[in-house]
Each structure stands twice: as structure tokens, then as C-alpha cells.
């Protein structure tokens, strides 16, 4: 079976870490968008999105992340991505988004991108 889509969040220091697993696509991206918008609406605009357990993402997922990045920055925060898988990286490379997001390859490296 496919790995189930899941979102978990926790606070760490001044940031909120959002851990996503499974496939982020047109079916699941709306749930991610809702979660991120809710956090940002609470003023939690320093976000770290942990994509290490994400197995697939499509343009819809990218759109949600770009939208959330903009909102975070408008509130003086930022949105960092954590990813290490070559396939996931490739999607950010071919769309040029690799230069748009602060990206690190492990949670330990967060803040140092």
C-alpha cells in the first residue's frame, strides 16, 4: 500500500515544525494549505516544513508551499524546507523553486540554510 498522507506539527524554539508524510498532490495539498494557513493566521509565521518523509509531490503541492512562503514573509517570518531525497529535490530544481525557498537537508541544519 501507498504510505498514508499525514501532517503533524510541533513548536521548537520560535519556529513551528510541520512534518508531512506520504504523497502531496492535488488530492492532499488542500489539507496542507489549510493547516499552513491556520498556523500563519495564528501569527506562527516562522515555519519549517519537514518533507523528509514525503514520497511524491506535484505542482499543486509546490503552489501551496509558494503561497505559504509569501504569507510568512509578509508577516516578517519565513518558511524553510527540509528535504534530502534526490527525486524531491529534482522537482524544486526543474521549476526553479530551489532558489526561492531556504532549503536544508536535515532538521539539525534548520536555521543555517
Amino acid at each position: 500500500m501507498e504510505q498514508q498522507f499525514q501532517i503533524e506539527e510541533r513548536s521548537e524554539g520560535g519556529a513551528t515544525i510541520v512534518t508531512v508524510s506520504g504523497e502531496i498532490d492535488v488530492a492532499t495539498a488542500p489539507q496542507l494549505q489549510e493547516s499552513l494557513h491556520a498556523l500563519i493566521a495564528q501569527g506562527r509565521s516562522s515555519l519549517v516544513i519537514d518533507l523528509l518523509a514525503v514520497t511524491f509531490l506535484d505542482s499543486t503541492a509546490l503552489g501551496v508551499l509558494v503561497g505559504a512562503l509569501k504569507r510568512c514573509r509578509e508577516q516578517g517570518g519565513d518558511l524553510q524546507l527540509v528535504m534530502a531525497d534526490a527525486r524531491i529535490m529534482k522537482i524544486f530544481e526543474i521549476t526553479g523553486l530551489i532558489t526561492v525557498f531556504p532549503i536544508v537537508d536535515s532538521l539539525a541544519a534548520v536555521g543555517h540554510s
Binding site: 501507498e2 504523497e23 498532490d25 492535488v26 488530492a27 511524491f56 506535484d58 505542482s59 499543486t60 509546490l62 503552489g63 509558494v66 527525486r87 522537482i91 526543474i94 521549476t95 526553479g96
Partner: protein
């Protein structure tokens, strides 16, 4: 079984073979298209990296076709055709409801899908005829694209 080239070794699809998948035009079912795409690419002489490229690309084809959908009516019809040098894939939104504005998803969504297709496949396009939105791609075996 196969010619022991770099493919995943399941080459059982041959020239002229055609596979068609039709499902309700909803985003939650695009996963079916990606699943079949992987199984077919693996049997059509592509290696694992190309197979992953095609899985992503087929999802984007579906998204392009779904842009013309109100997400509650119609079907997506996906067609895979093997030619001697490539795999051709098309995705058509078949709807008997009124044709919506074909690109209601907005320019940004369209642009990301286009970027992904441009990077991953050899040719791609879309047309909109009589309210039927059709997106298509061609991926050559051991093609020249990086």
C-alpha cells in the same frame, strides 16, 4: 526476458500496444493515472529515473486536463501508446456538461505544470477542441534530455 539493458527489465509492451484508463475527473483519483503510468513505463523500456519522471509528468497532464473541469462532472481518459521510439501519453477531459473556462486554475498553476513537463519529457502540448481539453506528452526511450 528483456535485453538486459538499463531498463527495469519488464519490457513486455511492444510497438502499437495501447492502454487506456478512464476514471471520474477528480483530483483524488489522479493517483490511479500515476500508478498505471509507472507500471506501463516499467514495461515499455524505461529505466527507474525515467519511470519516476513519467509518473510526475502524467500527474501534471491530468492536472492540465482537470483545469477545464468543475471537479464534479466528466471523466479523464488517459491513453498510453507505444511507438518504436517513444511512449505517447494523452489525457482528455470527457465531459457532457457545459465546457468551463479551460484554464480556470490560473496562470501560475499552468506555468508550474508546463515547467515540469518541459523538463521531463521530449514533447508536450495541449489543445482544447469542442470543450474537450486534451494534454499530451511524448517521452523517447533513452532520450536526449537530461
Amino acid at each position: 526476458m528483456s535485453d538486459a539493458s538499463e531498463g527495469v527489465g519488464l519490457d513486455t509492451l511492444g510497438v502499437g500496444d495501447r492502454v487506456e484508463l478512464t476514471f471520474p475527473a477528480r483530483g483524488d483519483l489522479v493517483v490511479l493515472a500515476r500508478l498505471v503510468s509507472s507500471a506501463i513505463s516499467a514495461r515499455a523500456g524505461f529505466d527507474i529515473e525515467e519511470l519516476e519522471d513519467l509518473r510526475l509528468a502524467v500527474g501534471e497532464l491530468c492536472l492540465l486536463a482537470l483545469q477545464g473541469s468543475d471537479a464534479h462532472h466528466g471523466e479523464l481518459r488517459l491513453e498510453f501508446t507505444c511507438t518504436d521510439e517513444a511512449l505517447d501519453i494523452s489525457c482528455t477531459l470527457v465531459s457532457d456538461g457545459p465546457a468551463l473556462d479551460a484554464w480556470s486554475g490560473g496562470a501560475e498553476a499552468l506555468q508550474l505544470s508546463e515547467q515540469i513537463l518541459a523538463a521531463l519529457v521530449d514533447e508536450h502540448g495541449r489543445d482544447d477542441q469542442d470543450g474537450m481539453v486534451r494534454a499530451w506528452l511524448r517521452k523517447r526511450r533513452r532520450g536526449p534530455l537530461a
